[in-house]
Symmetry: C2
Subunit: 340 residues, 2 copies
Amino acid sequence: MTAIKKQPIPSLSPIDHLLDLAAEDMQAVDAIIVERMQSSVGMIPDLADHLVSAGGKRLRPLLTIASAHLCEYEGIGHHKLAAAVEFIHSATLLHDDVVDISDKRRGKKTANLIWGNAPSILVGDFLFARAFNLMVETGSMGALEILSTASSVIAEGEVQQLAALRDIDMSVETYLEIIGAKTAALFAAAAEVSPVLANVSTKKRNALRTYGQELGIAFQLVDDSLDYGGFELSLGKSVGDDFREGKMTLPVILAYANALKTKDEIAAIFWRRVITEHNQRDIDLDNAITLLQKTNALNDSLDAARTHSDLAIAALKPFKASPWKSALTELAAFVVNRVH
Amino acid sequence: MTAIKKQPIPSLSPIDHLLDLAAEDMQAVDAIIVERMQSSVGMIPDLADHLVSAGGKRLRPLLTIASAHLCEYEGIGHHKLAAAVEFIHSATLLHDDVVDISDKRRGKKTANLIWGNAPSILVGDFLFARAFNLMVETGSMGALEILSTASSVIAEGEVQQLAALRDIDMSVETYLEIIGAKTAALFAAAAEVSPVLANVSTKKRNALRTYGQELGIAFQLVDDSLDYGGFELSLGKSVGDDFREGKMTLPVILAYANALKTKDEIAAIFWRRVITEHNQRDIDLDNAITLLQKTNALNDSLDAARTHSDLAIAALKPFKASPWKSALTELAAFVVNRVH
């Protein structure tokens, strides 16, 4: 469909080290996830299972687990919090797919396509409520505060993104604000709940919060670049999803800014037509990719992702060297190299 | 449209006494509600305000306030919990209207009709998250447990109702299970959080929980009967909404059971056509009402509501006589006489 070159996926993932370290914990987290999505109302586990058990890398709960070890936490509360984080993430995915009228996620049909919008909305609500049940069980008011605040920030980010859809004049600041809320807030919260549970210093807590926030921004920047190809996704979103929706992301912001700066009237008219007027033809995705490459907008977006990944790694400074610190460092590097 | 006789609304509402007693508290609750629906993302307060500030009687937060006084609670945590209860209720209404594709609520256009489905879903999520923020601020893990559990039960009830839509063979038990979850669970939780906050005996806590649960069932039974007229609603749902959706409620269950029992094949075929096959003509609502009256199904449903209202009142026995106890007794009577 598109002219862009695909890069091969490395056969050994750089987060294998982290996955190895966290294997036992993640098994416990998975068991909680499976147990807590059960309900006597059969449609709930069916739909939840379709999403939760399928394909995801469990990046956010992995963050909770790794942070707990970095803080030398010795309890088991991090398992429930990690499951709660994944439930919140799953709830937002179910609702997002209804909001975006998506038909594919991780290479599979979306729940809203199979079961309809109504069950997707309600099962999202169910998972969200169950997330809070799990938090309550850990008895950590601090974790509840962090994750309930993150949840309202996520919703704000989603609404802001919706309100700014097809706004070709969106600023880089607004874009970073939106992804900071809709994506990074949950990464930050996932990393911050463990130091709170482990009762370590505010310095370490803030360090992990920053790590999560910067990692989340890097993750979303890469995700938004991947929408215009450049990397092959094994089971990710399809190339051009954002473009077809008229969603403003950094590559488009940069390419449009370049068109204005260089007085490239043809390019400026192109972006306004496909985004603001949302008037697109089949060939336009290829045209967009050509423009993004010509103006270096994709590379600049990936550079921005690298900067945030570096900030994430730098934030880990208060922690002494350990296999977990290395693993989190590798994770931040991995996110900008290729992840979903 | 329908042939049914309308009864006049009494000019002095029997809950004026309760509203009077609770006036100062409800002012504080309203202030919290208005403050906490704010967001720098303008669409959120606009949409939330449309729903939250408009028309509702604030029955559920009123229950939290009255229960707090009945338990001689002396703090101010009940204000935040009452606001949280109203936020959870508002979130479910926003999502329900998307799920049911409703265009009217409390006599006004629904948010989904004005702003679209996507903002309604996301603002619902926002209000739900803010509800948990408020609970966290009270520091009551007990309240968090009660309301997070209620939230997952509500979602289960909604999904169960959805799965049973147009199921003419639904049993009375299944119906009571559904309304016990989708409606009564929040009434029960609204009444139960205050005794937990006030740290009174388990006996009193259970009493208020039962009061809320029975009141909620009575409320929904009346609501479901009102769908087929019989009472005028000042600002309520339109007559026939459930019918047109093919939603199974007690009046229809009883009328269909009567048709089977009396071997009234014409009536049985009618119900299967309009509900199961969802094949309806304009005149069918009138036909349905005629059948419901002929078989006494509406009166029997209202009798069932009265039974549950009586159970609610009886549950208050552990509390000594007080203006608040009288007010809650009147509230339960009011709910079955006419309320929304």
